[in-house]
Subunit: 672 residues, 2 copies
Amino acid sequence: METSEPSSSTRNGTSIPGTHPGDRYIRHVASSDLPLREIAPGRFVAELAEPASAFGKAWYRLRRALIGRPLRTAEAAHERIGKAKALAVFSSDALSSTAYATEEILRILILAGSVAYAFVLPIGLAIVLLLAIVVFSYRQTIRAYPHGGGTYIVTKDNLGTLPGLLAAAALLSDYVLTVAVSISAGVAAITSAFPSLYPWRVELAVAAIVLLTIANLRGVRESATIFMLPTYAFIASIGVLILLGLASLAGIGPTPHPVRYEAPPPSSPLTLFLVLRAFASGSTALTGVEAISNGVPAFKEPQAENARTTLLAMGLILGSLFSGITLLSYHFHLIPSERETIVSQLARTLVDTSPFYYVVQAATAFILFLAANTAFADFPRLGYFLARDRFLPRQFRFQGDRLAFSTGILTLGILNSLLVIVGHASVSALIPLYAVGVFTAFTLSQTSMVVHWWRSGQGRWRRLPWHSLLINGIGAIATGIVTIVVVVTKFTHGAWMVVLLIPALIGMMVAIHRHYVSVADQLRVAPEEARRRLRLVPRRSIAVVPVASLNRASLTALAYARSIADDITAVHVATEPESGEALQQRWREAGLTIPLVIVDSPYRELLGPLVAVIEKIHREKGAPLITVVIPEFVTAHWWERLLHTQTAWRLRRALVQIPDLAITMVPYHLEE
Amino acid sequence: METSEPSSSTRNGTSIPGTHPGDRYIRHVASSDLPLREIAPGRFVAELAEPASAFGKAWYRLRRALIGRPLRTAEAAHERIGKAKALAVFSSDALSSTAYATEEILRILILAGSVAYAFVLPIGLAIVLLLAIVVFSYRQTIRAYPHGGGTYIVTKDNLGTLPGLLAAAALLSDYVLTVAVSISAGVAAITSAFPSLYPWRVELAVAAIVLLTIANLRGVRESATIFMLPTYAFIASIGVLILLGLASLAGIGPTPHPVRYEAPPPSSPLTLFLVLRAFASGSTALTGVEAISNGVPAFKEPQAENARTTLLAMGLILGSLFSGITLLSYHFHLIPSERETIVSQLARTLVDTSPFYYVVQAATAFILFLAANTAFADFPRLGYFLARDRFLPRQFRFQGDRLAFSTGILTLGILNSLLVIVGHASVSALIPLYAVGVFTAFTLSQTSMVVHWWRSGQGRWRRLPWHSLLINGIGAIATGIVTIVVVVTKFTHGAWMVVLLIPALIGMMVAIHRHYVSVADQLRVAPEEARRRLRLVPRRSIAVVPVASLNRASLTALAYARSIADDITAVHVATEPESGEALQQRWREAGLTIPLVIVDSPYRELLGPLVAVIEKIHREKGAPLITVVIPEFVTAHWWERLLHTQTAWRLRRALVQIPDLAITMVPYHLEE
């Protein structure tokens, strides 16, 4: 029976409800060394405390050194940024794709020989057109979702849960590949400038991923300013390069230094399929365009207006850079090479290996790493939303010491390290996997907007926002067609993996959801039932104590059993023929009155017979719940644990499967 | 207070002492499906039972298929064998070393060019002399230890514990290398006959080790007869080969088919050191000579006499085979090669690649695998003795399903797989490591015998058994000198590893011993103290229940706490700012009277604050032992466990370090 009401008896300056100060067992130990601060009776705030064990301390300090001091939940800050900063923060992913998009088009076209080369111009034009459609579509999204229209949320709102999960799965694959492709392209920019580093490209890529993982576990909050320099440096340096190239084209610029790589012999006929395949590769130039519409809440007021302007500016810059690079690559007839990127070739053509060449390469590498970094923010955030909606393991909800979503960040870091190792840090190997997720998400997002506008008319024909419907409708159709083109033309080159992965991810998320819902249903309890159940409990308890021999550890367990139970049985499994008699003998010598059951185990098995006899006693005693009291000794050093057989732990693991048992470990602490 | 005396109330044909048949909670469940057979009141015998879980069943069946049905402890059989069988069983190790000993001598001599080649004869003679000394020494041991004189036990008896451990460490290294060397030599016999298998030699060696491991886990009891064929086939075929060779030498045998490998250019001057190094390599011919003296209890009566005769016979056969192979290798001027063994070269010289050649190679490979197999019996048996004396982890004492010492067998299998992979299954790479342990054990064994005889005289000069003293004295001095020669000449070629390993092993065994003794001292309890302690226990209990939310699992834990304790505190750590208020609200709604302590955790940490508040309550309540009742839900499938954060388990791990806490897990079983 419960004997104490919540009350507050203060001692040592702190209080725990229900303490009896007159108790003979009270030990006068100050509680002030505990990392707890009392703020009200029965209410404490936990303070930071270093772990006690040597290993725990070392791990704690390593974490502090790597990811910094822990942050309070209340320290989460929200920065509001202007248009110039926002362009830097949200565009790195989109702009950086100009570093590889043209090259990937050329890499496909060149398979059909020089005659196909000219197709780069119409393909480039088509992509710029597509970009314009997508930019205008997302300007609509910003207007409709001024609080941030992430594709997962927008799709789930408008199309329902399953399309929402399709969008989520597509985005997850998109984010993973954003990291892998951007890091690989960034490393390619470095190894183009320093060819001697080429054999180390996989190591460099993995190192970059590890650095990004650590930086993000630290929680890179102060990032807006950090983004400014590399993004604008990239825009400026590529801009200058394109102007120089156009001048040279007009005959007024510097004399070009021709860079000539051998074109491989044609291996494929020039077919419509090949042209579409090249287009699909180039369409990766659009990746990241949606970032601004997700980030509206970070803008200064008027948020939506500023975000729409920034998106338009970004579209113009991206379109110009991509057109410029594509046009000049065509003009100088640059041939894609394993060893040197097209941007590096273009820069060398125009400025040779002057200091400016290295500026271009550095700016390119930097913005690509920043692009990877945006995925390190997006993936864990999406993971959090999915975990909150119970579609991913709840671990994705945890915020680490620095308020970062550690599980998502670590997952992304590990997946990408593997991906980069398997893909040998090659952009072209990863590109076919990339575009599927990106355009699936685009299509779902645009389709959602169509449904959104349709519903906003509330069924009345004349109230429908036709203008918006038209823009997003064109967007949905265009991106939908591109999705089909990408899947078909890239299927055998790797897209099949993503096509299989996405349904698998959806299936997994649905299964996870079903499990969590079922658990919640099973655990739910009404207040009145809780009260009733606790009132009905009899103060009556039955205990079973497995005993290996009569020693201090088993004696402590027996004494504990005495303190909680009226009915105790000791059980012994004799794995050696004599041990049963020996224990009975000692039992008699000590004059113990607790009944002792002995099970001979001729096959020397311990756990099976122990579980069987406990179950037998449980059935015969018939109590609703019986307690198995397991004596356990705790060694002073971890290595000493290897010298014991962890029977207590293995027994617990076996017993936990049996219903209606409470399992109590009574530790006996060994000294040195 | 205990309410029931041992009594026997039978129900369902079985009985558990202390059952109250009138209890309202009794469930009428038949216990007959449990794998227990009652043999007396409160006394059961466990029967074999298949595990219930699908995974457990699969594992159980795999084990049954691989290692056979479990054996009862009482099924351990002891076979007594005659001299002919005993020779087969105990000589495979010793005889098989003739397959590589001569080759290893030549491999060293050839370093000094052809001029050194002639030294093979005096070295061979020295080794035969050494063999004679060792054989006569061990005949003394058999006389003194008719119940089996294992080197570890003999040394410990006569020289004390530390020399005993030195012998044990030397023997452990000896046994490990017996497997590696024998398997490598056996594989070399196979690849000599089938050179196309040479690239697969490491895989073949590992496969052989895995097979031996499985065979020994099965418990190869019926082995005596199995040993007969290969051992006698080896003796016969090498014997025939030597006779053919001697006939050819006398000009009356077959015409030799010269086998010529290119001798490498001399790389070392011919020094005494080199000759001694060659001798040290060849001394591995003696490995395994001690086996018969360990195995005396397996002989038919008169045991000692039969064993002595068998040892002499074995010495003669070993001496003849070794001398014959050495003499003929010299005569035909065989050059050691990486690709073909000397025995294979000798056989091809005399009988070309006739069927008999393949018989010789097969018999050689077979006896070498048998030799490895003897180490699979010796190593676990020594491990058992050492574990029994508390110098090795107690896991080495366990007898598996088939009464084999599984831990030792698995340890040996794993160590040797690694050794063979690292050493590329090359005999010459392993030989320098081998002889150190063998001769250290010989020397200690012989020295022990000297002490034994000395003591047997009981201090009286004229009672001393001078004859035995002399024989074992010569043995001790000779093997001691060889040990020094081996260590010095092989030191830089690998013996240093063993020289470092042996003291490390001894140090480890001493540390393990100290730990076990200290644990036993700490746990020991006198009968009267046991009785007194159990009499003094008050029926009074204090419980703390960590609660994440008010659900069925935590309710079950709270109800359990009610059933065992008078004083309960629920604690909640609020890792999210709102969860504390929300729980308090639900607590009030349900009208629960159990006090609830809330700890806000601004750094989102769960375990640290929970441990701190439990410790705080523990200190303030001041009871000698308080119970932490942890609600835990058990998922229906293992994969679902990944979706939960195993807080219960992590909390237990943290709490087990705090003294005077009993930790109770109250499982709540989830359905599908």
